[in-house]
Amino acid sequence: MFILDKIFKGNTLYYPGCLTKFVGKDIEKNYKELLKKAGVDFVVLPDLEKCCGSPVKNAGFEDDFKKLAADNLKIFKDHSIKRIITNCPACYKMLSQDYPKVLGQEWDIEIRHFTEFILEAVNKGKMKLPKYDNLKVTYHDPCHLGKQSDIYDQPREILKMMNINLVEMQLNKKNSFCCGGGGGLQSNNPELADKVAKQRIEQASDVDAQIIITPCTLCDMHMKRNGKDGGVSVFEFSELLVNAEKVRKAIKR
């Protein structure tokens, strides 16, 4: 039954994205653990899959982007991938919006962002969330996930289910400011990228948030680095779900 199911329905791929896979390894571990907890039968293709092409497209190499999309399509088809779950907002945006544009109908793979997946899993009773009573949290919308993909509510709902006291920064959702990490700014203009990050972190301090949560490895790393001296700690979404002890400890400090 199980095997037949797979043949008809195809495989689910967990696609961490280059940054998470090569740099944010703990985050990758967290997300894999969450998939297992939710009882998802998934595959990974770390050595075969290629970069989604987000930095390539952003840097103006459109032909390379098209090639990456086509290469990935072939790799995914070879492995009967029917559904991809990714935690990376940039990959999510590329796979769900830009791939269909360059690949047309051939691209028929269902793309889910991890926050959508978690919310579904929790609602179906397949995943349990830790509780953080009274923790004052603000949520930073990653540009690719929020205003570029319209995923605003799912992550917020999950936070509320954890009994978190969610406070919004004055600039949130479609008006939210970038953390300064994207678009190639970190590598092309690091000082400016840091300034933009500090400006965003200050907005979180303004509403007295204890921590900033964001489901983006890039935003997380960039703001963590720039928030060291401030009163707000920055966490990637999965840390809250998997490393409850670590989070609690960090806030007590």
Partner: protein
Amino acid sequence: MNKKFVTEYIEKRSKALSSKEAEELRDKLYNLKKTAIDNLDEYVKKAKSSLEKNGCHVYLAKSNQEAIEELKKIIGDEKYIVKSKSNTINKLKIDEKLKAEIVETDTGDFIAALAGKKDPHPVIPALSLTEKEISKAIKEKLSKDVEPKAEKIVEFVRNYLREKMLSAKVGLTGANVITTQGQIVILENEGNISIISHVPEKHIVVAGIDKIVKDMDEANKVVKAAAVWGTGQDWPNYVNVISGPSKTGDIQNIHIEGAHGAQEVHVILIENDKYEVAKGKYKDKLFCINCGACYDLCPVYNAIGQIPKPSDFERNYKCTLCSNCALNCPVKIDRQSNFRNNRKDFNKLEKIPQANKKMIENVRKYGNPFGEIKDGDTPKELYCC
């Protein structure tokens, strides 16, 4: 960053127009501007002939230089002229090129000129000046003591400028919109434009040819958007619609040009490279109504006081591609794609930032932006981000 300004602006704007209404208006504006730019040549011809029929003098200037030459001829030997805010006129650098003294009559411009410090924001030139700084500049430049309070400063500026505006012979303004049917539409809150376009003998209008739309119905949409997206207002205080010099036929039905308002209306329409741009892939640049909304929510502008610019190599790569500017543009200019397309152009010319060069080499060779990574290793340089 001026947080108070940004949050108040967003709040006002969302009250002025629901998001559904805003989206509908954006679609309409995009379409009407696109039609105008796709038919630029025809729109210019029609506007010129309509304005002339109304009694305006119309000049088609191929370049800023030609516009300045025309200005010189019209202004003649006048010692000073009164001017209102206009980004098109600012680009002419007339203060260096005309003999006449230029008196800025927009409060923000007047103050910014006194302080010698102008914010690049197209709508709020004195955004970064405090009351104290302004009061100090007035003391230094005009030897007047003014209490560093907004209302006192405005009162001083009003009194100082009123006399100048009433006795000037030439008023120089921009235009928000010009219609193919011969109307010039200029919006404002302060009332200075109403005065300097009506009271001096000559009113000179300088505008880019991209300002032309079909009719007043379309013009009203632009006015609405300029108010809502520009300052979060529902509608501007004043909308000046001028279609020719003042006139009267009250005596024996004899047509006399020049009654109470301006006796001459001169319209200088500047072409520059606009016909060229209108045919290319960056034509949406010409849809711009100069509302400044893209500045207001740009994280980079808020951090450093300068907005990234797609066509400028240095300034392009200061953009995070966050898309705030594109999503907040009332005419739906896709600045985000423009940034990428300009990067594409730069790449073709082999003008590639070092980090991007590394990134693309790595992607081509290893399928990831970081390069060769051995098992368990973590890359040190992040070329992707």
